[in-house]
Symmetry: C2
Subunit: 479 residues, 2 copies
Amino acid sequence: MKVSRERWSKEFRDWFRDIIFNSGVYEYRYPIKGVGVWPPYGMKIRRYVLNILKGLLEEKGHEEVLFPTLIPEEFLRKESEHIRSFEEEIFWVTRGGKEALTQRLALRPTSETAIMPVLKLCIKSHTDLPLKIYQVVNIFRSETKAPHPLIRLREVTTFKEAHTAHTTFEEAEKQVREAIEIYAKFFDELGIPYIISKRPEWDKFAGAVYTIAFDTLLPDGRVLQIGTVHNLGQNFSKAFEVTYLKPDGKHEYVYTTSYGISERVIAALVGIHGDDHGLVLPPKVAPVQSIIIPIYYTEEERGRACEEARGIAAELKGKGLRVKVDDRKDITPGEKFYFWEMKGVPLRIEIGPKDLKEGKVTLVRRDSLERWRVRREEVYEEVIKSLNEISKGLRERAWSWFKERIVRVGGLEEADSAIREGKIVEVPWCGREECGFRIEEQLTCKVLGVDINEEENAEGACVICRKDARHYVRIAKTY
Amino acid sequence: MKVSRERWSKEFRDWFRDIIFNSGVYEYRYPIKGVGVWPPYGMKIRRYVLNILKGLLEEKGHEEVLFPTLIPEEFLRKESEHIRSFEEEIFWVTRGGKEALTQRLALRPTSETAIMPVLKLCIKSHTDLPLKIYQVVNIFRSETKAPHPLIRLREVTTFKEAHTAHTTFEEAEKQVREAIEIYAKFFDELGIPYIISKRPEWDKFAGAVYTIAFDTLLPDGRVLQIGTVHNLGQNFSKAFEVTYLKPDGKHEYVYTTSYGISERVIAALVGIHGDDHGLVLPPKVAPVQSIIIPIYYTEEERGRACEEARGIAAELKGKGLRVKVDDRKDITPGEKFYFWEMKGVPLRIEIGPKDLKEGKVTLVRRDSLERWRVRREEVYEEVIKSLNEISKGLRERAWSWFKERIVRVGGLEEADSAIREGKIVEVPWCGREECGFRIEEQLTCKVLGVDINEEENAEGACVICRKDARHYVRIAKTY
């Protein structure tokens, strides 16, 4: 995407919509606004992405569960901060058949209030803790803001939410750190760059003691929140009376955390790695890691090229790779190149008459479009090596682009122009809410929060009140 | 379950509720009636069961997709039979936040009406057909009948529904046969016996040309429908105007089918294989296929038994088995036996002082509680052999019990007493609806339909009108 800054925003959004549609990632032509369909290709990417995430969670002892979508109004209202924040965006089921329900049922906007009443029944003693569960579900938010495919949906169909319960606040803190580590590893696997910020008080999750968020940046210069981790303290356990028996025989409320990732991670994958040819998929989540295309002019050449293609496919599949031969007769090799580039297949293997004669194959990398030849016997090693290089290359390219777009400035004017250039800006801030609001107002941006590793680090004066700054606070335009 | 027939019904239901709770298969204490939670252990069983089903579907070219939960009222109403049947049980979303929605949204009771508008956009030509997709989703039915965990739910959280589109009615017929084959294989893998019947006209799926159903029998003598396959003809494609371009340049409506399986398959697994000790899981879907329990009296013995246990576990895991060592210190071996029997682990491996001394281990089969010893070096082969025998044994035991309970009789009185004995009964029937209704009324049972392989096979006279019978029709008490 080499377009001038002024045209970015519009162009990126169009590019994004075209690419997810053309590559088969997401079908957004559903008769409800803000609601879409996962077609087969996108569903496969989703599956591989979720497999990585599930693997990381399970490695750390999280167990998968599945809670209902429907939450009785009474339970949703138990934690007062929570309902206050979600009230405006709850979808309410009010009728069953032709009857009005005696109690309205909410479609979950997130599952804390569905899970807590069950934890209350399951947690008895300190030996039941820590308890670490997760689920992958759909959640619903009757957004008033304009919806955007994969980014701002009214039915989010891919919400991985983890919920944990602990004996002490310190244990919950440790869990927050574990969650951050898991998410960092997850985004690293996908080559998605991020910053980790503690959200300001006014933007934390409703009912949380504090919220940590992972943010990335899309090519249009807007920050996309791609993961959040909440320390919920005893807020929910008190509202739902979830206690445990301590070794000393007393009861205490449990401490809980929750953390979530949605299909926005797929939006980030598409937006960050993609180019004018279409998707560029990290090999780990590519439904087809290598596409083999036989090239021929005569029927005899076709036979030989297809045979060689199938032989190579069998070898690579046997060794665990996801490989496909495109031997369609009705379209040209050029059309096939275009088709599979659009779909983001990391590596193309071409087998033409010259390759066959010389016992070689031609490889083409999707990320760099680099093209080279190797001997037939070396195909497997070369494919493995290239896929690793592609993974690494995508990650490095994305991180270097990202890092260039984080700048630290001292004054409002520089901040304003950096934000208009699509950057994440760090400015000195006194830490007071009113100055935070004024930053957001004056720069039409959002305060992302402060670096979790470097909370009190600022030099100089708050960009608003000019009093001593406590933090560099991160600000940006956001989705 | 050796209980007298008179007490079956009550006892089986209690047994079932206890067992799914105690073994951790399903948590039914959720604050909405007819809605439950999958805890970790049940979730793992669910995962293995779904993996088998997904594998069978994908082998036959079905691709996984994911459609939204929300369906606009207008679309749900397009197929008139369909809405008429579901009208009474749709959950309606009528409010978003504090606003009334301009159009009511249904929570899908099944997804034909969500999928058809998208197929309309995706299917252009005969080359796009056949189209075979499936999804695993939650569906909602505001049932008025008493709910029952895993069997009659208001939020079904595990609905595998496949949807296909074809060029001709014959192709759709072929697809129905393929679906039947897939489901038969699936239930065979789980050792769940079944009969396959063509449902009577009045009990077919709303909007279908005809419905084929898989039924099994639970120990209380009630039939449980565990799978359905619908030939939808052009009913939905006409309602949604889904056409394709034929090679001759004309447009025709596509022919569609759909087929589904729900968590009732887990209810069948539990009910059919379980016993007074708890679950009995077929090895293929057991989260733990073999539990290893070290037995010791002294601390020194403990060390050696645990070491041996871990060694065997490592060996079996390395060879792809799901194995766990229970080395908890705070409970006795007897308590461990009880715990893992309840959870249905197919094979127990005990390692006691005598075993260690003689270089042996003790094996115990969950299904037969048979107990024997083998030499340490033979453990892997013996475990594999036993797991296969258990799979086979469960299937055979279930089928033989099932077959004994299918009887063919000529008159109403015999039919009545067989039904009251908890059997599936085949009676001669003229084929007319009014006689079908009278059978259901007089015997307080349900007509399941006729054998799909033997539609017109009856001898003698219809049990109601005494005119010539066309079919043996299957009847039973049902869930």
